[in-house]
Amino acid sequence: MKFVAGLKKYGIFAVLLLLIIIFSVASKAFLVPSNLFNVARQISMLGIAAVGMAFVLLLGGIDLSIGSVITLVNIVAAWLMVKANVDPVLAALIALAMSASIGFINGWIIANIKMPPLIVTLCAMTILEGVAYIICGGLPIFGFPKAFTVLGQGYIGLIPIPVIIMIVIFVIGSFILNKTFFGRYFYAVGSNEEAANLSGINVKRVKYLVYTLSGLFAGIAGIVLLSRTNSGQALAGKGFEFDVLTAVVLGGVSVNGGSGKISNVVAGVLIIGVLSNGLVLLNVSQYVQMVTKGLVLLLAVGFDCIQKYQKSNA
């Protein structure tokens, strides 16, 4: 039991280190600065969206619509800039407002109609993906103003801007959880909704906030992705929620709600980034990668549930 507890606390960093060592040995192309920057850029969208998902899991919920929100934000911002000639900043803000609203609607339905989050966000996932296809007709939208690409491709000093955005979001996420009263409410509602309500916490409002933030952070990830790929695609965020969920659970946020920390989520995000990059470098086929990803999530959730089982039997 002590071993499991220790593994939970530091194991995630050990796993990360192990992966880095394995890939460094297996591929000469892995441990070189250019590739590491590549990994960092690749994970930045994942990291941004992971903070929102971490909040949702803390609350005992789940948000499967993250990938579709990213797609829709991609298409809508691209459409606004290219087809409607909207200023890039304004287009991005409109897209972000939309993603936050989508999150709020998810939260409202979950809090008021008391539908399972899994179903609500699964429906949202399909609906939003459909809407994206309807807008773009399945075709990519490209030709953005040059200034827009800075967000996804630029650097400040040596560091890519997406990485800086990710770090800022991590800091904000950590700040919310550790310093603010509403961050504390996330834990309270996640660990015992009824007791939280009877302690005077407005549980519904907490749910609105958390799902809104999840939508907003997914939206930010979507804008960064759009700027980086320079083209709005109807497949932009496909399957993204899976990687985000895996990273967050690997980072020790319990799927049962109530416990988790942003610092460990960072490690979870890094593991997913290193794993994806390493497997590509080793020329592992895409299908084998899928199998690997599925197994990793299964293991991570399994580990979490074993923990819970042992705790409840202690």
Partner: protein, 500 residues
């Protein structure tokens, strides 16, 4: 009693967990056909001892002897084969299956591969006849009351030919009349030669049922007594290891003239036309049977459920709180009856629990003032004498009494005028209860007002200034302190007017 009459002997049982001696050289002998009560405060080692009999816990050393034969390594399966059955507080029943199917769960009577429902129903009927109980074997278990579900559990044990029946706090979830029926069944089983080990916090039950009583404290057996040779005071002092001079601490008279809360013709949440007043500094007790509407009344006043009609006047102004938050802002708080499910945030630390209701007040631009938070948590930890190494301790790790104090601390921090306590000492051991009583007295002495809901007759009579009795959602009696008596309360509580 002679040794060969002993159906169960536990000899020199030792069980240690890291840092704790759960059982220290415990020797207990249970005679065939007796009702043997096991009493002790929470943490005295009763549950661990039971678990050594059922094979759920393997002792470090010692012998378990059943019917004169030593069972060297007890397992749950062996325990069953040796005729030992346990009725736990939580039942192992499947709600969607019928009574008969539950009784024969895992041992269904079959004709070839087909389940013989008829035979199971007949066999169940036979058992119920034997126990003199009337339950329809085809009824789904989920449709039964808690009391009848317990009977199904007992019937299950009987059908398995249990020789030793261990009952762990069997009366806790039952209503008064259900308790009586359970007692009758215990008597029946006893006369049929079944040995019963009876664990309960309620000493009156022990005296009603037990032939002998074993007292445990801090993992040790203190004594086994014949029931006829002891009394409540002796038992309590053996359990806590000290003489309790008085069960209920005295307090200064502190009732003011000001009417703090006035409820007029309140309806809703199962209540019918409820009216009463409470003065500042008063402890108003609410008595009644389970389901009489006491918790429901608390829920209306605390804004958990909406009223449909009537007035709540608090501090001279009419209020109608729609959420607990609104009630808290008015100065009304509730310590709910189910501490673990509704009261404490078990996975959060003491500090976080105590500050939970005032977080927004001690935050500046949403950022919690952590120094202030620590200060407040420290203050109430000291004032309420919460036993813990530090305020960062997770509440799950505290004893029931200390958890209850943490919840009280949370509310005191919000500086309320009216504190509603719903079963404040349920599942708390004797020593900690006394401390809670003293705290309640301190509350009213410092100008707060308390509504106390309790199913323990003695407690409510010992603590209240007045008692209001509810039955079926109506007030059936208001009793002043000088007129308190158990029979009067019971008679009010059993008044049945029928629903409108």
């Amino acid at each position: 009693m002679v040794a060969d009459n002993m159906v169960l002997q536990l000899k020199n049982i030792i069980k240690t967990y890291p840092g704790v001696v759960a059982l220290n050289d415990v020797t207990i002998e249970v005679a065939k056909g007796e009702v043997h009560a096991l009493v002790g405060e929470n943490g005295a080692g009763k549950s661990t001892l039971i678990k050594t009999c059922t094979g759920a816990v393997v002792p470090d050393s010692g012998q378990v002897i059943v019917n004169g034969r030593e069972v060297s390594s007890m397992t749950p399966k062996l325990s069953k084969e040796n005729g030992i059955a346990v009725i736990y507080q939580e039942f192992n029943l499947v709600g969607e299956l019928s009574v008969a199917e539950n009784i024969f769960l895992g041992r269904a009577i079959r004709k070839g591969v087909i389940i013989d429902r008829k035979a199971m129903v007949e066999a169940s009927k036979e058992i119920f006849e034997q126990l003199d109980i009337d339950i329809e074997p085809n009824e789904l278990v989920k449709n039964l009351s808690v009391g009848y579900q317990q009977i199904v559990e007992i019937a299950k044990a009987v059908s398995q030919k249990a020789q030793i029946l261990i009952m762990d706090e069997p009366s806790a979830p039952l209503t008064k009349s259900e308790v009586e029926r359970m007692f009758a069944m215990v008597d029946k089983l006893k006369s049929a030669g079944v040995t019963i080990i009876y664990i309960s916090h309620r000493l009156d039950e022990i005296f009603r049922l037990a032939d002998r009583i074993t007292i445990m404290r801090d993992g040790e057996k203190i004594k086994t007594l014949n029931t006829a040779e002891t009394d409540v005071n002796m038992l309590v002092s053996l359990m806590v290891g000290r003489e309790l001079k008085e069960t209920y601490p005295a307090r200064m008279p502190c009732i003011k003239d000001e009417v703090l809360l006035e409820v007029n013709n309140l309806y809703g949440n199962g209540l019918t036309d409820v009216s009463f007043q409470i003065r500042r500094g008063e402890i108003l007790g609410f008595a009644g049977l389970i389901g009489a509407g006491r918790t429901e009344l608390a829920e209306l006043i605390f804004g958990v459920k909406p009223k449909t009609r009537g007035q709540i006047i608090f501090k001279g102004r009419e209020i109608s709180p729609k959420t607990p938050r609104e009630a808290i802002n008015h100065g009304i708080v509730l310590v709910p009856e189910d501490r673990k499910r509704q009261g404490a945030l078990l996975s959060i630390d003491i500090k976080g629990n105590i500050s939970m209701a005032i977080l927004e007040k001690i935050s500046f631009c949403s950022v919690i003032n952590k120094n202030k938070e620590r200060e407040i948590a420290d203050k109430y930890c000291k004032e309420l004498k919460i036993k813990t190494p530090d305020i960062m301790q997770i509440v799950k790790n505290l004893s029931g009494g200390n958890q209850q104090k943490v919840i009280l601390g949370k509310w005191l921090a919000s500086n309320p005028d009216l504190i509603i306590l719903d079963e404040p000492t349920r599942g708390i051991d004797v020593g900690a209860k006394y401390e809670i009583y003293k705290l309640i007295n301190l509350l009213v002495e410092s100008g707060k007002t308390v509504i106390m809901i309790s199913s323990e007759m003695e407690e409510i009579m010992g603590m209240s200034d007045r008692i209001i009795v509810l039955s079926e959602g109506r007030i059936t009696g208001i009793i002043a302190r000088q007129e308190f008596n158990q029979e009067l309360i019971m008679s009010y509580a059993s008044i049945v007017k029928g629903k409108e």
